[in-house]
Symmetry: C2
Subunit: 197 residues, 2 copies
């Protein structure tokens, strides 16, 4: 069975890929609005891990609405959640049995409720999988440690390799660089370079 | 890292075992009050799947309280939930980095809330893993199909190989066989015989 996993190149979505690998033919997919080429970091990680990779073209209107939402809210959660939902819908357009993401138990965003998960499954005729939904942050760190070569740092120096980096760029472009710091709390990103040598 | 997975011999906990296997040294553990020997079915499945197995002695007082609770409620959810919590605590007594169960996304029982999961982890110094928490019933069925040899049927003909069968026996012993039908709704159990030949 084919599964498309939303992939940021970080440790959560990489561990999600390794978790699904025994049960699915997993393709790693990274959504892009065409704003930056940060998705290339995800492709590099996918290559080194030996997974097929493709980008998903996301709708520019969704990006503009997400930036509006984040500016209105003063925090990124709802805007990022809307883009995540859109990316899952685009992944469901592919010819796959399942769409998946790297949401952890403790994540507040992006995260589908049970009702949203069932709605996606019923409307689109795919299974929705969140293989890390039953793992806390500590467990993920302990499993990843020793298995993956990971860089970590603040989002400015280790940008996420998915739409989050593009949303930050759009926000900076529209409202100036200070707006990014106002909306996005300090946050450590991880980027997987590949399996640990 | 060692993990102890609560194991009923059914398809959910078996798929949970296969999911954790690449990341942990998994031991399958089945709680018993010493009331029936249904746990032997779980041991058979564990043997055929090639996982280490052990029983966990559960406290008879917890069983008696659970039967009281189920009779008072008229349904089994809270009683079974209390026994599940107790079994996880007993699993955490083992020398393991993680305790785990086969809870699915759509399960109402047994299921820990995020707060209960964190409490278990903080109090006992273990990770709590629910590798199927992000899988719906359909996805589990599709992954299991073709991979495992599964028998399915009503609970009377295919009893669960864990404490649920013992709770039914205790209830029947105390209140008569009709009490079991009153408290437990019709429910299909699955039992894994082993890998699909």
């Amino acid at each position: 069975m084919d599964a498309a996993l939303l992939y940021s190149g970080g440790k959560d979505s990489t561990l999600a890929a390794l978790s699904l690998d025994p049960f699915y033919d997993v393709t790693l997919v990274t959504g892009t609005f065409g704003v930056t080429d940060d998705w290339r970091h995800a492709r590099s990680a996918a290559d080194r891990l030996g997974f097929p990779f493709r980008t998903l073209d996301l709708n520019a209107t969704v990006a503009a609405d997400a930036v509006d939402q984040m500016l209105a809210d003063g925090y990124p959660r709802n805007g990022i959640g809307a883009v995540h939902d859109h990316a899952l819908e685009r992944a469901a357009d592919l010819d796959v049995a399942a769409v998946a993401d790297g949401t952890r138990r403790d994540d507040r965003v992006p995260s589908l409720s049970r009702a949203e998960a069932r709605s996606l499954e019923d409307r689109r005729g795919v299974d929705y999988l969140a293989p890390l939904a039953g793992f806390g942050r500590g467990a993920v760190d302990r499993v990843v440690d020793g298995r993956l070569d990971v860089t970590a740092g603040p989002s400015e120096s280790v940008p996420s390799a998915d739409y989050e980096a593009e949303l930050r760029a759009l926000l900076a472009d529209r409202e100036g660089p200070d707006a990014v710091a106002d909306v996005f709390p300090d946050h450590e990103q991880t980027r997987v370079r590949g399996p640990r040598p």
